[in-house]
């Protein structure tokens, strides 16, 4: 039997928080590029960051736990509506509004998780759509609260930390969103490597095996859904705060489907995959839609087909493989 011998000795603990620092710095660098090179597009980039939270959130349940869902916008939308309604009803502090969004998203996540993770496979997928549609229908019907199909408007948050006003160029909104993204991303990096996160990946691989080492799966998946709900709630609240409106699109089926596409595009099961997928999809859509408003969906479709053919596990996989090869070369030299 041929057997590749790996001489990589169980490494000593590398630089503490090295990965987290790298993650934070990379996001800040990307943000700086956007801020300084594209000052006219900050409103778009802020929206991109908002969606990135939703894709990260979806990654937690789909990429890390293997839950199939086409209703994930519910968590995002509930966070957005909660923050928006709170703002209209008198809470002005952006950080407090963020907390409202997180809270609402968490509750929504726990409820969705309790329903959806009871099942597996196709029933699970159908149930996730049903939950999503239910939330969308409620957002439409409860128009006294949500503004219904007109959307919820008049969201005018106060200054961030009482200092920075939201300006018409979206500078404050962008920097505020970017700061929150850095914090959440770093926390998630720790989270997915934790014993809890590792166990979720195990459950995704083989849930019977997980039960056979003594794991009760259901409560774990519900808990993970709660965390994912919190992350999506952040995105929803940020979007409500920065755009000043919340529409039915934020809970729509299209939103759920689109973020799933972004996740698959970037690479499910990697936080960087979620982020890369969001950035590439949204920028591509932004540019192509501006250049050719009538056929942009066709081009997006073509792009997706190409990526699925050439990088079926997402764009992040070849990049990671390259890193791994470089690392091996580095340790061999």
């Amino acid at each position: 039997m041929s057997e590749i011998v790996v001489t990589r000795v169980p490494h000593k603990r590398s630089i503490p928080f090295g990965q987290e620092a790298a993650g934070a710095l990379s996001i800040i660098a990307l943000g700086a590029i956007g801020y300084f090179l594209y000052p006219d597009d900050l409103a778009f980039l802020t929206r991109l960051i908002g969606i990135a939270f939703l894709v990260l959130s979806l990654d937690l349940v789909t990429g890390y736990c293997g839950v199939a869902t086409l209703g994930h916008a519910a968590q995002f939308g509930v966070g957005a509506y909660a923050a928006g309604i709170a703002c209209v009803r008198g809470i002005a502090d952006p950080v407090a509004l963020l907390a409202v969004g997180v809270f609402a998203g968490t509750i929504m996540g726990l409820i969705s998780g309790a329903l959806i993770t009871r099942f597996r496979g196709l029933p699970q997928l159908v149930l996730s759509i049903a939950v999503g549609q239910l939330v969308a229908a409620l957002a439409n019907k409860l128009s006294w609260l949500t503004g219904g199909s007109d959307g919820l408007s008049g969201i005018t948050p106060g200054k961030v930390f009482g200092i920075f006003n939201f300006d018409m160029y979206s500078r404050t909104a962008f920097l505020f969103s970017l700061g929150v993204l850095v914090i959440v991303f770093v926390l998630l990096q720790r989270f997915v490597r934790s014993p809890f996160g590792l166990m979720c990946r195990g459950i995704k691989d083989d849930d019977l095996r997980a039960r056979m080492i003594g794991v009760s799966i259901y409560p774990r998946l519900v808990l993970m859904y709660g965390v994912a709900g919190a992350v999506a709630g952040v995105g929803g609240a940020l979007t409500a705060i920065s755009t000043g409106v919340v529409g039915l699109d934020s809970v729509s089926f299209e939103r759920s489907a689109e973020v799933l596409v972004m996740l698959v595009l970037g690479g499910a099961g990697h936080l960087w995959g979620a982020l890369a997928g969001t950035i590439i999809f949204m920028i591509f859509e932004h540019i192509v839609a501006a250049a050719n408003p009538f056929h942009w969906m066709t081009l997006v479709g073509l792009l997706l087909i190409l990526i699925v053919i050439f990088a079926p596990r997402g764009l992040i996989e070849p990049v990671l493989a390259l890193f791994a090869r470089l690392k091996r070369k580095g340790s061999a030299a």
Partner: protein, 254 residues
């Protein structure tokens, strides 16, 4: 001392088909028992009944005197009832170290920690590296399971079993699908299992059975038709008729 595991009049039928029929047996600490029988005799069904994967239609299971018939799979594992699978069921996309570490962390109740690096927790690391070197797998610790040869994967099944510190270990054909020259490695690993645990092994390979077992249970058409020492089993008329036939003759001839 009460028995570690007891099956009392266990039956199970699927529709009209009786797959397990009035099975009784006991396992005590230190037992090394082989469960043999022809294909379709219901051996894996019996293991699934014991672990709680399927519920018996009638009868009960006891561990250390407590009835466990109605408790969940994870709760049985927590009581020390551990199995391996006939076809490997591992966390294929995780590393070998992670596979074993998960079992250890689950046993130690630390998988609810949210913010520490899992595999490198010192107390966990020390244990998985010991288990892996015990099984000669230490060089493969950071390889993904999916990249490994089948024989190595079988050893990881055992590693996970060991990491759970079982009182009763059920091995479902631990050498199935392993290349013949690697089977001794599996047997060696089994022989080095902690002496005080009870081991029940399903196995087709009679050589392995005779090297391992001090007691043999023979299952045919869902019934236990024989219980006794390995030497008696080849002599038993009914067993030969039901199952062993050719093998017993071959053994006598050589």
């Amino acid at each position: 001392m009460s028995d570690l595991l007891e099956a009392r009049a266990v039956s199970r039928s699927f529709g009209g088909l009786q797959v397990t029929c009035d099975v009784n047996f006991k396992l005590a600490a230190g037992d090394r028992v082989a469960l043999i029988g022809p294909n379709g005799a219901g051996k894996t069904t019996l293991v699934n009944l014991i672990t709680g994967d399927i519920a018996p239609s009638e009868g009960q299971f006891f561990m250390g005197g407590d009835e466990i018939t109605d408790i969940s799979i994870p709760d049985r594992v927590r009581r020390g009832l551990v199995r391996t699978f006939q076809t490997t069921r591992l966390f294929a996309n995780l590393t070998v170290a992670d596979n074993v570490a998960l079992a250890i962390m689950q046993r130690k109740r630390i998988t609810r920690r949210f913010f520490s690096s899992a595999t490198e927790l010192p107390e966990v690391r020390a244990e998985w590296s010991e288990i892996l070197s015990h099984l000669g797998l230490d060089r493969l610790a950071y390889r993904k399971v999916i990249e490994l040869a089948y024989g190595q994967q079988r050893l990881i099944e055992l590693a996970i079993g060991l990491a759970l510190r079982p009182k009763v270990l059920l091995l479902d054909e631990p050498a199935a699908g392993v290349p013949h020259d690697e089977a001794p490695k599996i047997l060696e690993a089994i022989n080095r299992l902690p002496a005080d645990i009870a081991v029940l092994m399903i196995e087709h390979d009679m050589d392995l059975v005779f090297k391992f077992a001090r007691r043999v249970l023979v299952l045919a058409a869902g019934r236990l038709i024989f219980e006794g020492s390995p030497d008696d089993v080849t002599a038993d008329h009914e067993v030969r008729r039901a199952y062993l036939g050719s093998y017993a003759d071959a053994r006598r001839a050589t």
